[in-house]
Amino acid sequence: MTAENVTHLDERLSQSTVRAVKDTRAYTAFRVINGTLLVIIAAVTLYPFVNLVAQAFSSESYINAGQVNLWPKGFNVTTFQLVMSDAMFWRNYQNTVYYTVVATLVAMVLTTTFAYAISKYNLKGRKVFIGIAVFTMFFNGGLIPNYVLVNELGLRNSVWAIALPNAISVFNLLVMKSFFENFSTELEEAAEIDGLSTYGKLWRIVLPLSKAVIATMILFYAVSFWNSWFAAFLYMDHRDLYPVTVYLRNLIAGATSVDGAAGSAEATQIAANVKAVTMLLTVLPIVCLYPFVQRYFVSGVMLGSVKQ
C-alpha cells in the first residue's frame, strides 16, 4: 500500500462520516465537546516540546524560579554556544550519524533479501523460514545471553555491537514481505523470459519499483537506530564512542557535564538549561523531518497490518 492509498482511505473515511442528514441537538453538543477535547489532547501532547524549547532559550535563573512555561524568559543563546562548542557533544553526534547509517544499511540488506525470498509462494520451505523469523517475536534469548554473546564475538566497542544484533526487525520484515507478495508476477515473469536471473530481477525490476516501501523501511530503521541508546550504553566503554543519546543520558543522570562548565557550582547552575539545549539538538533532525515523512510511517504500519 502506498501513501496515496492511505489518502484514499482517509477520504473514504471522511465521506462516510458526512452521512448524517440532520443532526440532533445532542449530537451537535457531542461534536462540539469532542472537538474541544481533541484540541486539548493535542495541546497537552505538544506542551512538553514547547516547554523544552522555552527552557532551551531561557536563562537559568528563570528556570530555577519556575517561571518558564510556554515562552522563553531571559532569552539567551549562550548555552547553545556552550553545548555546540563541546567537542564531546559533536563527536557523539557524529557517532550517532555513523551508527545510524551503518546499522540501517546492514538492516536493509538483510531485511530486503529475506523478505524477497520468503515472498515467493513457490519457494520450498517458505513456511519454515517464516516460522524461524516469527517465533523470535514471541520468545528471545533475553538480556544476559545476548550480552555474553556480543562480548564473546568481540563486537564490543565497535559499530557492529549496535548494527548486528538488531539487524532484522521482524515487524519490518513482514511489512516488506507483504509488499513483495503483491508485486506484479507478470512483470517478474516477463523479466525472467528476457533472461534476468533472480538477482537481476530483484535488483533491476523489483527494487526500483519498490521505492516507496524501501524509503519507509529506511525511515523505520533509521529512526530506531537514531533513538537507540541501550546497546551503546552496554557495549561502548569509552565516551569517544558514545552516540549522542548516551551523552544525553549521562547528562540527565548527572554523570557528565559539558566540558566548559565541569566541576564548578556553575555546572549545577546551568544544568537545566544545558539539558534542555542538548535534548533539543538531539530531537531536532527528527522533528524537522517528521512532517514530511510521517505519512510514510503511517502507510508502512498499515501495510504491516494488512496480513495480520
Binding site: 449530537y27 512538553p48 520468503i118 520450498k124 533472480t198 543520558r249 537545566a272
Partner: protein, 349 residues
C-alpha cells in the same frame, strides 16, 4: 488415508530422494504420476515433497542464497542466545563458554524463588503490566473513535500528526522531558502551587512512580496506537450504518452495534500482542527514570535482572530470572491466542 500400494510407492520414492539416487527417483516419479485415483493425493504430496527439495534447490538456488545471511543472523543473534539460556542451569564463568561450565540444576531457580527482592519486583512488574493493559490499551480505541467523528479532514490530520509525534522520540528524550516536567519548579508543580498545594518532589517519592510511568506511556504511545484502529474503522461497510439508522439506531447505538464490532478483530489482535509483552514493561524507560528511592514501586523484573546480571556479573542467576520472564510471556501469548480463537474467532495465526 490411502491404499497400501500407494503408500509404499510414496515411501519408496521418498527414500530414493533421500539417497539421492536419480534412477530410483525417476522410477518413483513415474509411479506416483500414474493414474491412482484421488485418494492417493496425500501420498503423492508426501512423495513430491521429498523429491523436489533437490529440484527446488536447483531451480531456486539464487533465492536460497539470498536467505543465507539473514538466516545466519537469526541463528547467531536470536537462536544461539535462546540456547544460551541454558546457563540458567549451568554455572557460567566470565570468559568461559557462553553455555556455561557445569550443571547446577535448579540452583539458580531456587535462588530467585527464595529471593524476597525477586517477589517484590515481580509484583511491581505485574502492577505496571496490568495498569498498562487496563489504562493504556483502551485509550487508542477511544481516541480513534473520537477522531473518526471529526468532519474537518484538515483538523483531523492535524490532531493525528501531533498525536503521533511523541512516538518518534527516543526514550532518553522522554525521560528527560519527564524530569523536566516533574522538577520541583517544573510545570506540574507550578500548577500545584498555583492551586495552593505544596510542591511534590515526584522523582523521590515511590508512590508517584506508577502515575508518572503510566502518564508518560500514555503520552508517548496512544496517538500512534490509533493508526490501526483508524484503518480498521475506514473499512467498516457504510451500508451497515444506513441499515442501523433505518432501524432507528442513534449515533451512540451505531457506534456500539456497528463500529465496535467492525474493529473487533483489530482489537483482539492488538490485545493478544499486548498480553504477550505484558511482563516486558518499559525496561529502558524505567532504567532511565528510576533511582534507589523509587525501587519499592519502580523496580521491575527486567531492571532487577539488569542490576544483578550486568551490574554484579551474576550471569547465571540473571539468566534464570530472564528465562522465567520469557517463558511466562510466551505462555501468555499462546494462551491468549488460543482463547481468542475459541471465543471470538480472531487470532494471530
Amino acid at each position: 488415508m490411502s491404499t497400501d500400494g500407494v503408500t509404499v510407492a510414496g515411501g519408496g520414492s521418498a527414500q530414493a530422494a533421500l539417497e539421492h539416487d536419480p534412477a530410483a527417483s525417476a522410477v518413483a516419479r513415474t509411479a506416483t504420476a500414474g493414474p491412482e485415483g484421488p485418494q492417493s493425493r496425500a501420498a503423492r504430496k508426501r512423495a513430491a515433497g521429498h523429491r523436489t527439495w533437490r529440484r527446488a534447490l536447483r531451480r531456486d538456488w539464487q533465492l536460497y542464497t539470498l536467505l543465507i545471511l539473514p538466516l545466519v543472523f537469526f541463528v547467531v543473534f536470536r537462536y544461539v542466545p535462546m540456547l544460551g539460556n541454558v546457563i540458567a542451569f549451568r554455572r557460567f564463568r566470565p570468559g568461559g563458554s557462553i553455555f556455561g561450565e557445569e550443571w547446577v540444576g535448579l540452583h539458580y531457580v531456587r535462588m530467585f524463588i527464595n529471593d524476597p527482592t525477586f517477589w517484590q519486583v515481580f509484583q511491581n512488574t505485574l502492577v505496571l503490566g496490568v495498569l498498562g493493559l487496563v489504562i493504556v490499551f483502551p485509550l487508542p480505541i477511544i481516541l480513534a473513535l473520537m477522531l473518526n467523528e471529526l468532519r474537518s479532514r484538515r483538523f483531523k490530520r492535524l490532531v493525528q500528526t501531533i498525536s503521533y509525534l511523541p512516538h518518534f522520540m527516543s526514550v532518553v528524550i522522554v525521560a528527560g522531558l519527564v524530569f523536566q516536567l516533574t522538577a520541583m519548579r517544573g510545570t506540574i508543580n507550578q500548577a500545584i502551587t498555583a492551586f495552593g498545594g505544596d510542591a511534590i518532589s515526584f522523582m523521590q517519592l515511590a508512590e508517584w512512580f506508577r502515575t508518572i510511568y503510566v502518564g508518560s506511556e500514555i503520552w508517548q504511545t496512544v496517538g500512534w496506537g490509533t493508526i490501526l484502529y483508524l484503518a480498521a474503522l475506514s473499512t467498516v461497510d457504510p451500508q451497515l450504518y444506513e441499515a442501523a439508522r433505518i432501524d432507528g439506531a442513534n449515533r451512540w447505538r451505531q457506534t456500539w452495534h456497528v463500529t465496535l464490532p467492525g474493529i473487533r478483530p483489530t482489537m483482539v489482535v492488538l490485545l493478544i500482542l499486548n498480553i504477550g509483552s505484558f511482563l516486558a514493561v518499559g525496561f529502558e524507560k524505567i532504567l532511565l527514570l528510576y533511582n534507589p528511592l523509587l525501587y519499592p514501586t519502580a523496580d521491575v523484573i527486567a531492571t532487577y535482572l539488569y542490576r544483578v546480571g550486568i551490574g554484579s556479573s551474576q550471569f547465571s542467576y540473571a539468566t534464570a530470572i530472564g528465562l522465567f520472564e520469557a517463558i511466562i510471556g510466551l505462555t501468555l501469548v499462546l494462551s491468549a491466542n488460543a482463547i481468542s480463537r475459541r471465543v471470538v474467532g480472531a487470532s494471530l495465526w
